[in-house]
């Protein structure tokens, strides 16, 4: 099994350094590459000391929210006498995001190491890796690696001879996008319907099985061993000199109308224009990039111009009115119909809404129906304002942000490409499906 593309010289390979190297999947292969040294170090450290190193590094959650990881860990009260849990969120289900899958496929022990360090850092003896059920290959790879790690005493009781217990379990999801939401994920592990929970209480107070819990993304946890091995300063240096809030490297999943789709790892603050046009090869021949959804399909859509002047970190994306999110970058070229693309996104959210909150359950479906009617050449001028008003009703009013995630691409798409919707409504034509690009 080979890796689909060669690394670009402008990439900074930290997490993805061993992608494509088959023997990196085995315990021996991982140890040969310096694996589990960080875990050994961590198990000899005080949990708070680990938290401080991670805080110092500036690592932020790579699942989308961007919350400082060390700070999140420090919410767990070490020694409070309660069982603590760590959940690794590997339910990567957002269209356009496929970075965690690759980490698990190629470097499963990197994740196990990160999970074990994270568990120790929050005083948890049990950690769950919650993997999207459709990830059959990553699940098989992770489970095989876990068996190796358990048999070698890397995890489990007396992990690496430290006297500490760190049990790691793989929990396979049943195929619901919402289970990637942290509280729904906990419900799912507990065997209940994957519905988000009202916060407060926050998971750090009452999470999995009602006990203090931390949820981290695969990429976040995988970065931790590197930070312990090389130090917080090394990690911090990978940032814009004028922006210390976004540090380290970031894996970007790039898909859509782009010459070289795939996963790319670049330092925070990398120029987005260069990334799209050089690292990823730009739009297919004869076309130009029209729009980009840079952070997984729930973030605001930006135009090519906005993308080309952006830099690739949390603040850089906010500066052009969007978000870094999970860095699942969807590229849309000039041959595509924005109404069609946006209708497709809305349909996804309508299908995946957990149905708890009224605005989400009904709003996502209503939005989809209107968009599909417009795409079918049966839209009216009033539909566009209605879409915006529905979106307004769907934003900031529900338990989780799935509803907002549906409204965001619609409202941003309408703000930037309203003319395409209007043209479709005016001409009452059904937009032709563009040919597949070779």
């Amino acid at each position: 099994m080979g890796y689909p593309h060669q690394p670009h010289p402008r990439e900074t390979l930290v997490l993805s350094k061993h992608f494509g190297e088959g023997d990196a999947r085995s315990l021996d292969g991982w140890k040969k590459r310096g694996g589990y040294k960080a875990l050994e170090t961590a198990l000899g450290m005080d949990p708070v000391a680990i938290q401080n190193v991670v805080k110092e590094s500036g690592l932020r959650g790579r699942g989308g929210a961007g919350f400082p990881t060390g700070l999140k860990w420090s919410f767990m009260k070490i020694g409070d006498g309660k069982p603590h849990y760590l959940c690794c969120n590997a339910d990567e289900s957002e269209p356009g995001t496929f970075k965690d899958r690759e980490i698990m496929r190629w470097t499963p022990h990197a994740l196990i190491e990160g999970v074990a360090i994270g568990a120790h850092a929050i005083g948890a003896e049990n950690a769950y890796i919650y993997i999207r059920g459709e990830f059959t290959e990553p699940i098989a790879v992770m489970e095989a690696a876990l068996v190796e790690a358990r048999n070698a005493g890397v995890v489990g009781k007396n992990a690496m001879g430290s006297g500490k217990t760190v049990n790691v379990w793989v929990h396979r999801g049943a195929g619901a996008y919402i289970c990637g939401e942290e509280t729904a994920l906990m419900n799912s592990i507990e065997g209940r319907r994957g519905n988000p929970r009202i916060k407060p209480p926050f998971p750090a107070v009452a999470g999995l099985f009602g006990k203090p819990t931390t949820i981290n993304n695969v990429e976040t946890l995988t970065a931790v061993p590197h930070i312990l091995n090389h130090g917080a300063d090394w990690y911090k240096k990978m940032s814009r000199p004028d922006n210390p809030k976004s540090t380290g490297t970031k894996l970007w999943s790039v898909c859509g109308n782009i010459q070289r789709p795939g996963n790319y790892e670049v330092e925070m603050g990398f120029p987005f224009g260069e990334f799209l046009n050089d690292v990823c090869g730009g739009a297919p021949q004869g076309r130009t990039i029209k729009a980009v959804i840079p952070g997984g399909c729930s973030v605001p859509i930006i135009t090519r111009e906005e993308a080309e002047r952006a830099v690739m970190d949390y603040e850089g994306m906010m500066a052009v009115g969007t978000m870094l999110g999970s860095a699942g970058c969807i590229v849309i070229d000039s041959a595509q119909s924005m109404p069609r693309q946006i209708a497709r996104l809305a349909r996804f959210y309508a299908h995946e809404s957990c149905a708890q909150c009224t605005q989400c359950r009904e709003g996502t479906a209503w939005t989809t129906k209107i968009l599909e009617r417009i795409v079918a050449g049966d839209g009216t001028a009033e539909d566009l304002d209605t879409l915006l008003e529905i979106g307004e009703n769907m934003t900031g009013k529900t338990i989780c942000v799935l509803s907002d995630s549906c409204a965001t691409p619609v409202s941003s798409g309408l703000a930037k490409f309203r003319h395409e919707f209007e043209a479709l409504i005016k001409t009452k034509t059904v937009h032709a499906v563009p040919a597949v690009v070779a």
């Binding site: 619901a176 009224t358 359950r361 996502t364 479906a365 009033e382």
Partner: protein, 523 residues
């Protein structure tokens, strides 16, 4: 006394002081401000899913679900701000996307919260132009019908079955706008408390098959009462139309039944409408029974009872007032009062402490005991030859029917002719429990009032009225002009009821003096 800690906040400009941990929704209620809501119910765990109760809290970045947000010191809450009203309007519009506007045929019409709130603050029109979803109705088993088209997925029913009934038959199936309330494969809604989901449903999605198409909400008169299905004494509302009881529903009382009643009690109303009622006093003569005036009948009854030991076979469903007056007749003659309590299977509601359908299927066995009546499986064995017998609203078994031949005289004080009783010298017709006022004492010694819900048929009179007149005819002083007077006399002479009055009881009831003696094992 230690100071009770309170949190002070302002809701709609009104200062409110409530206990810490109170939700904004409950705090608003205490201040007289109703925050519209669907999924919230005080008897269920908070779900916070309908998003109807969003309110604006100063300094909060977003609107807050008032059902799930605890009060905080100094908080300023706006329920009717433009932002909050717009959010509610949005929720209502979305709830009506697939909800059919079939109010004219919906059983919930007139008491539908979706109808009420839409009228109150919804949009005048809908912007929804797409075809509505349609799904067939589903028979959930038991007494419950599910009309999916009307369901707003508030999940009250699911939470009731999960968290209160502890019988997780219901679930939310599917996702998105395809979601519906489903039943677990092969299971039906046959839990003995399942019909509460009908009351809990804020719209017309869950309906009682028994009540289906029987009456409209606005045609019904509602009266506070107490269930007679067992000794629990659940507080209920009797709903009547045209002098007929149409249905019974629970009335909240946190000390007895919280918000619920069992299906047995709920269905136990048809006897209240029975048509074969005793409607006029009568005396047995040479040519059979003949209708007479009340004075004649009472004089006749006094005549056959005087000078004899009186044995009273009483129904444990009679009011405290009736039992008290019967007990006075018993005491005066040196006789015996006895009762038999029908038995049935116990069916607890696990999520509520001390709430169950009790084995004792009678409402006032405790009152009868406190008032000196003897409980017996075969009460007539206590009757001596030559005793005069009063059968007070009590049926007899076939064997007992024969045994009463030993009685020197038989007086029936009842709503209908007792089963298996072939002879009665005097018949004194009385009102049934929904036709008079009075009190009942539940298994924990809680004395609770019931009110008159419908008219008494024919010449029948309230039981306390008839028995007071009978006592007077027997030469006792018993001048009562209202049920409250009879109860006042009871409270004055019976130590267990000391200090109680109709006024003090209110509609929630109070325990008897030594109620602790009833706190033990349930019966």
């Amino acid at each position: 006394m230690a100071d009770t800690p309170t949190v002070n906040l302002t809701i709609e400009g009104r200062p409110v002081a409530v206990a810490p941990g109170t939700t904004i929704l409950e705090a608003a209620k205490s201040a007289g401000v109703l925050i519209p809501h669907y999924c919230y119910h005080p008897g269920l765990p908070v779900a916070g899913v309908c998003r109807m109760c969003l309110v604006e809290v100063e300094k909060f970045p977003k609107l807050a679900p008032s059902c799930a947000t605890a009060v905080a010191e100094g908080q300023v809450v706006h329920v009717h701000s433009e932002k909050a009203r717009e959010a509610r309007k949005g929720v209502l519009e979305m709830l009506l996307i697939n909800h059919p506007l079939d109010c004219p045929i919906c059983d919930q019409s007139g008491e539908c919260e979706l109808q009420d709130y839409t009228y109150q603050e919804g949009r005048k029109d809908s912007r929804y132009r797409e075809p509505k979803r349609f799904n067939p109705a589903d028979d959930f088993g038991g007494d419950v019908l599910y009309v999916q088209n009307r369901c707003i997925l508030c999940t009250r029913c699911v939470r009731f079955m999960d968290d209160v009934a502890h019988d997780a038959v219901l679930n939310v199936s599917e996702r998105g706008d395809r979601a519906f309330i489903g039943k677990f494969e092969g299971k039906d809604l046959t839990h003995p408390w399942a019909a509460n989901v009908v009351d809990l449903c804020p719209v017309g999605a869950l309906l009682s098959k028994d009540f289906l198409n029987k009456a409209r909400a606005w045609e019904l008169d509602r009266t506070a009462s107490v269930c007679t299905g067992c000794s629990q004494g659940c507080n209920i509302i009797v709903e009547t139309r045209d002098n007929t009881v149409m249905r019974l529903r629970p009335r909240s009382n946190e000390s007895v039944n919280q918000f619920f009643m069992c299906d047995h009690g709920r269905g136990n109303y048809r006897w209240l409408n029975r048509r074969d009622r005793l409607e006029s006093p009568s005396i047995l003569g040479a040519n059979g029974h003949s209708t007479v005036d009340w004075e004649v009948a009472l004089e006749g009854a006094a005549r056959v009872l005087k000078g004899k030991r009186v044995f009273v076979l009483a129904s444990p469903n009679l009011s405290n007032e009736a039992l008290y007056l019967l007990a006075r007749i018993v005491r005066k003659s040196g006789g015996v009062g006895a009762y038999r309590v029908p038995q049935g299977a116990v069916a607890p509601l696990p999520g509520v402490d001390d709430l169950a359908l009790r084995a004792d299927r009678a409402a006032n066995a405790t009152g009868a005991k406190l008032l000196g009546f003897t409980r017996s499986e075969s009460p007539l064995e206590l009757m001596q030859p030559g005793d005069a017998l009063i059968v007070a609203d009590q049926d007899l078994s076939e064997a007992e029917g024969a045994a009463v031949a030993r009685a020197s005289a038989i007086v029936v004080v009842g709503t209908a002719m007792p089963a298996n009783l072939t002879r009665a010298d005097i018949i004194l017709p009385i009102a049934n429990i929904v036709e008079e006022e009075g009190t009942l004492t539940n298994l924990r010694g809680r004395v609770q009032r019931f009110l008159q819900a419908k008219a008494t048929p024919g010449m029948a009179r309230p039981s306390w009225y008839v028995l007071a007149d009978l006592l007077a005819a027997l030469g006792e002083r018993a001048e009562y002009f209202a049920a409250a007077d009879a109860f006042a006399a009871l409270a004055a002479s019976e130590p267990a009821f000391a200090g109680l009055s109709f006024e003090a009881l209110g509609l929630r009831g109070l325990p008897v003096v030594d109620a602790a003696q009833f706190a033990g094992a349930a019966t």
